[in-house]
Subunit: 425 residues, 2 copies
């Protein structure tokens, strides 16, 4: 038995705003940050590591929420928590008083994600497997038992989920070998930040193309004339065959989104990301209907499975960009992968920032091996920054994520990162 | 000029769980709490008082978020903030880093509400008016200038909002006089908590009926046999003419909600409240279609105007239970009142807890005087608890809210409350 005996919650902030990495129409100066938790256990050998991602101010509130929620784990054994993984999810999201300040959204849910991810990390370390492997070794019944179907059963029951998973069991091993040989495709935003000059955009695009990428995302939405020029620069540099994605980071109202995207349509974007409020399901649907065949993508701020359910039910999104920290950790990510399979919507998880790339590779591998069984129209986001601060950074080859082999969920930070970037207010 | 020079943020908790006041299917043991803020100013005479409501654990996180956000107000003059009230809303909800941990939802939005409400309270105290009066004295143009129309313009533009408000200007004074004479109707949950025995239910219903109430809400959703018995007890006690409302506090999935409400239909509920997840717009719509003519009510956990917009657009609710603390303060309450008028949906604001009754009377008065112009199908929630802790408690007469006459927004707590109920961890 490995009992959780205590925890440390740490406010890590990286001063990325100094270089305008990560700048977009809504977020001019992010400082990529992690509300980071280490679960200590009765075993000297094993700790669990989890985080949620923020962009600076407010990270202290996620750390405080981790402290409030972590008391629900202290004294529990990881074996009893993981015997019924859905109970872990409910323990951290269902406290009757704490759910009032959510429910299942905002700071309390971000903090819950950090802790749920830390328990999965701990469990995977004890099993000496990466998290993706732990889940790919589960039976369909065990997979389904990790998902909270509350509020989903009108579109997806546990029985229907089993039917989705069973046909893939026999093909899992072959897919894992394929991934180990050639990786999972990614796309990158490293070229397209709004704060970059045209020259920087061109040069970064050329560099990434040479390194194997075929999908390029560019931030838009601050000034239409600028966007027309920058999309033209990018399309010329990336070539006709590559995929362009445009990302508005929620700056438009619905009618404005439709008009603006129509102006940029000649550059043939594959999708437009976050055209309006992340809460506006019906608004996204109206945009999607108006701009087809350009797809609508959203999800980095889609806070739970109930919102994703509706986006998918109403065909309001055509690309699902789930976030491994915004959703309530591994359990809710599995729920959304199942929903996406149910509605045949490709999952292209949100990353960038810090730690997110390390997380999303697991989600995309699980999706390919166990859930959707395809890489068609699927790319996991990637960005080139801050990987040096984690102990097991992503390994990219020719623009593709190579499956992580170290045990756990890949976001243990280095001692140097803790020493250098712990925020002291 | 009155400059905001500092603030106190206070964690107030009332141990209501000891008596099972407030118990329902989702919340078995709430401790009604306020994350309370006092804005200090350059004038010794004037402070501003605001709060958000929680049910216990997690209140400390709202207090922490108030501290993080309040720094955005310190050094500002209330005159400059209120010159353009929408800028106040954007200042507290639009910080590019802090919005990441929302946006406009959860703890950061609850805290923003406390602060926005405190600034309106302060401004009203300086003008020596209650908040409802301050707004009823505004021109339609000033009213519209208090609302952030971002993400609303696909269904409601500022111009359309003006058209909604203008016809009521000439009738405002007469309506105010009417309210001062006979008040605004309320309904009460004080009888129907799940923790009460049948005898307590019967006795409290008889008592409230004698005091003038005609609407009675009862909590359901834990056990169907219990619900059938308790609804029968209540219907017999309240009589055939009074209105019964049933409240499930989010415990059902969509198919279960439809089935359960059909079982209770013989007791003729006027509406069912929170039948499922507060995020599930399309689920509420499916329920509403299946159980008509019983109405669907929701809103106490509907976190912003964008969610309400969609609930109304899709006819997923027929009774709007906005919450003055869950929404981003006075500004966003005004936005939702306008949306409700646009879609001709009655507003019956959520109250109970602590401080909420004091807030909602203002919302309902504004709705009647300036926005909807009718009390038809409209009742503001009321509960009998904890009014002794505020300096200007609600005044009820024959089950109706009498318009508050004291300056401000009615939630200044007494010194005794601060001394007796400040929570020290």
């Amino acid at each position: 038995m490995t009992t959780i005996t205590g925890f440390e919650a740490i406010d890590l902030r990286f001063p990325t705003s100094q270089h305008l990495d990560g700048s977009d129409a809504m977020n001019p100066d992010p400082d990529y940050s992690a509300a980071y938790v280490i679960l200590r256990t009765s075993s000297a050998e094993h700790s669990g590591y989890g985080m949620t991602f923020t962009i600076g101010r407010g990270n202290e509130l996620c750390v405080a929420a981790i402290r409030s929620l972590a008391t629900l784990l202290v004294g529990q054994s990881v074996e009893s928590l993981m015997r019924e993984p859905v109970a872990l999810y409910r323990r951290l999201t269902g406290d009757s008083q704490l759910r009032w300040v959510g429910p299942e959204k905002g700071i309390i849910h971000l903090a819950g994600a950090a802790l749920i991810n830390a328990v999965w990390d701990l469990w995977a370390r004890i099993q000496q497997k990466p998290v993706w492997q732990l889940i790919c070794d589960m039976s369909p019944e065990q997979f389904v038992a990790s998902v909270d179907f509350r509020y989903l059963t009108d579109v997806l029951t546990p029985g229907q989920a089993l039917e989705l998973l069973q046909p893939h069991v026999g093909k899992r091993q072959q897919r894992i070998e394929e991934l180990r040989a050639s990786g999972y495709p990614s796309y990158t935003t490293s070229a397209g930040w709004l704060g970059y000059s045209d020259d920087a955009l061109r040069q970064k695009c050329a560099d990434l193309k040479a390194r194997g990428w075929k999908h390029f995302k560019i931030k838009v939405g601050r000034d239409l004339a600028d966007d027309l020029r920058r999309c033209s620069v990018l399309r010329r540099e990336m070539g006709d065959d590559a995929f362009m994605m445009i990302d508005a980071n929620q700056v438009w109202d619905v009618p404005q989104a439709i008009e603006w995207v129509r102006q940029l349509a000649p550059f043939r974007p594959w999708f437009v990301e976050e055209p309006t409020s992340p809460d506006d399901i019906l608004g996204h649907r109206a945009i999607a209907e108006a701009i087809a065949p350009i797809r609508v993508a959203t999800g980095e701020m889609c806070h739970n499975r109930i919102m994703f359910k509706q986006f998918m039910q109403s065909n309001a999104l055509q690309v699902c960009q789930l976030d491994c920290c915004r959703l309530g950790g591994v359990n809710e990510v599995l729920a959304v992968l199942l929903l996406a399979a149910r509605f045949r919507i490709p999952v292209c998880p949100h990353a960038g920032g810090v730690g997110l790339c390390e997380y999303v590779q697991h989600a995309s591998i699980i999706d390919y091996v166990c859930v959707s069984g395809t890489m068609e129209d699927r790319v996991a986001e990637y960005s080139d920054h801050l990987h040096e601060h984690v102990c097991d950074p992503v390994v990219m080859r020719h623009g593709r994520y190579m499956p992580p082999e170290a045990a756990g969920y890949s976001v243990k930070f280095t001692d140097a990162a803790l020493a250098g970037y712990t925020f002291r207010g």
